[in-house]
């Protein structure tokens, strides 16, 4: 065979394989879009399940997903960013640094179901029950709750946040750090005034991607807080003293419904999986839509910061 023929064959083969990825994406998203679009309407998005969960909407699951994601990011972001700052700016190549780096990498490789079991064992049975024991007065913290589910998810997304933050920090030119040091800046001044402002975009992008990863996970929340069905939203009304007003607030000690778990139970635990199929499609489309939205905003954010160097 001549070289030209081989060249043509190679090109054709590679192009074909690359096209298959495109095809897979189109088929997957296409079927979800077509199946989901038929059921999604305002009613579906804003009402709860009815008729033994064979009819009705998925609002509680959307609400629960948003709550748990917010809670997760509140826990994971500070921890992850601080760890990354310590790793890249402070620890150098010491033994501690290598140990932390190894832990992060190992954490990233742990299957998500293991995180779920860890969440039960550590957060609920150990921390929760301990709090209850100290507090007295029965079970409150030591049972599945949004708080623990969010904590479990936070541990899961921690490596994503740490790695992306560390990357964003290392991307800040060494020359800028040197300039700050040479002007008499302390390490923290250098980090807070020179490195972090420049790494902001990268850190944000990484966190959003980690949210979209966490929002789609089922296994970690399986045992730690999500409910098959909850007739109420996980909300408490806090009364403001003296005013007589009551403010609705997310109750992190309550259980919750969640989109990916909802899909799972609809497909496997439902009394009649065939009847609930449209709901499954609709729920999947909403979940995928949320994830895509988050990813697109991450990409947009990154593009915006790349175009325009940060002033101030």
């Amino acid at each position: 065979m001549s070289r030209a023929v081989v060249e043509q064959l190679a090109l054709g083969l590679l192009r074909g394989l690359a096209m298959m990825i495109l095809l897979a994406t189109v088929l997957l998203l296409g079927s979800i879009a077509v199946g989901g679009a038929r059921v999604i309407d305002w009613e579906f998005l804003t009402s709860g399940p009815t008729e033994g969960m064979t009819e009705g909407g998925i609002f509680p699951a959307i609400f629960g997903t948003i709550c748990i994601t917010l809670l997760m990011i509140f826990m994971a972001l500070p921890l992850g960013v601080c760890a990354a700052i310590y790793m890249t700016e402070y620890s150098g190549t010491t033994r501690t640094a290598r140990l932390i780096r190894a832990s992060v990498n190992n954490l990233a490789g742990v299957p998500s179901i293991v995180f779920g079991l860890f969440g039960v064992g550590f957060f609920i049975l150990f921390i929760g029950r301990s709090i209850d024991a100290v507090r007295g007065g029965g079970l409150l913290f030591g049972q599945p709750a949004m708080l623990w589910a969010a904590a479990t998810l936070a541990v899961l997304v921690l490596p994503v946040i740490i790695v992306s933050t560390a990357e964003a920090l290392t991307a800040v030119p060494r020359s800028h750090r040197e300039a700050a040091f040479a002007l008499g800046a302390t390490r923290w001044q250098t980090v807070s005034r020179v490195v972090l402002p420049q790494a902001r975009a990268g850190i944000l992008t990484g966190s959003i991607l980690s949210i979209s990863r966490g929002a789609g996970e089922t296994a970690p929340i399986l045992f730690t807080g999500c409910a098959y069905f909850l007739p109420r939203l996980p909300v408490v009304h806090l009364s403001v003293p003296l005013t007589g007003l009551s403010i609705p607030m997310i109750n992190p000690l309550d259980q919750f419904m969640e989109l990916s778990y909802h899909i799972f139970i609809m497909a496997t635990q439902s009394t009649d999986a065939a009847v609930t199929r449209p709901i499954q499609y609709g729920t999947t489309l909403v979940l995928v839509g949320l994830t895509v939205l988050l990813n697109v905003s991450a990409i947009g954010l990154r593009a915006r910061y790349r175009r325009r160097p940060v002033t101030r």
Binding site: S175, E178, A182, L183, G184, Q189, P309, T311
Partner: protein, 279 residues
């Protein structure tokens, strides 16, 4: 590798042409920085050995030598940024106004305030022009803060940049030309009111016109500051400096009045280097 073909670069005599001594070159200036048998090692690599030299106050001292001879390490050891991000071993002593910089308990923040540095590549922060100059004063939170605008203006004027940027202080520093960026970096150093200014090949990334402007600036700076400049460019050393040190393979070959180094060097290797036989 730049090869200098001229036999001996012209030692600057512009000041002389202007008439009476703009610069009282003669007469010993007090010693500002002194190296005593100083050695410097990075992990697994020795950068400097047995360096003994003195840098006079309010003079320009040039450090020349081929790539990798330890020039940069030498000046970065004066503000102790050579040790950032790595482990180093320092022998001997480096004195600033008679005090050992490497003595335990040395306040690095104070040291770096007194010894400013301009880098090889202009490295303004991705902030506005104003914020770049104000960075140092803000760090130190001085009483100076009350008149930050004044400090910024004065520093930019000293760095001969004010006229070009006075109407756009809030624009990003990255929009300036390379030469302007480097002068901004000089203004940033001046804003913390240092005593010594270290320059690590400050013109190597600049065009000839920008280079000339920086050199003019150095001329002015020497009236108030002690300047140590590392340069690859021997004509530059000859033009801007009062004294020149020649380094080779981490060792000091000789240091003397610039005029003497470029006309009658004591060491054969210096002569070979400045006449372009190697390097």
């Amino acid at each position: 590798m730049t090869r200098v073909t001229m036999a001996a670069p012209t030692v600057r005599s512009r000041a002389g042409a202007a008439g009476a001594g703009v610069r009282p070159d003669t007469g010993p200036a007090p010693v500002k920085i002194a190296f005593h048998d100083m050695g410097f090692s990075y992990p697994g690599r020795r950068a400097l050995a047995a360096i003994t030299l003195e840098v006079p106050e309010k003079r320009v001292t040039a450090v020349i030598g081929p790539s990798g001879c330890g020039k940069s390490t030498l000046i970065k050891s004066i503000n102790r940024i050579a040790e950032i991000g790595t482990e180093v071993e320092v022998e001997g002593r480096v004195l600033l106004d008679g005090r050992d910089l490497y003595a335990p308990g040395t306040d690095l923040v104070d040291l770096r305030r007194r010894v400013g540095m301009v880098f090889q590549k202009p490295n303004p922060f991705p902030k506005s022009i104003y914020e770049n100059v104000a960075f140092g004063p803000r760090l130190h939170g001085d009483a100076v803060r009350a008149d930050l605008d004044g400090v910024v203006e004065r520093s930019l004027r000293q760095a001969a940049l004010w006229d070009e940027v006075s109407d756009r202080l809030k624009t990003p520093a990255m929009e300036l030309s390379g030469g302007q960026q480097q002068r901004l970096c000089i203004a940033r150093v001046l804003a913390v009111d240092p005593e010594v200014i270290l320059m690590d090949e400050p013109c190597s990334a600049l065009d000839p016109i920008s280079t000339a402007r920086i050199e003019e600036l150095i001329e002015v700076l020497r009236e108030r500051y002690t300047v140590v400049i590392v340069t690859h460019n021997m004509q530059q050393a000859a033009r801007v400096s009062d004294r020149t040190a020649f380094l080779l393979n981490g060792a000091l070959v000789e240091i003397d009045e610039t005029e003497r180094i470029f006309t009658t060097p004591a060491d054969r290797r210096t002569e070979d280097y400045i006449t372009g036989r190697f390097g």
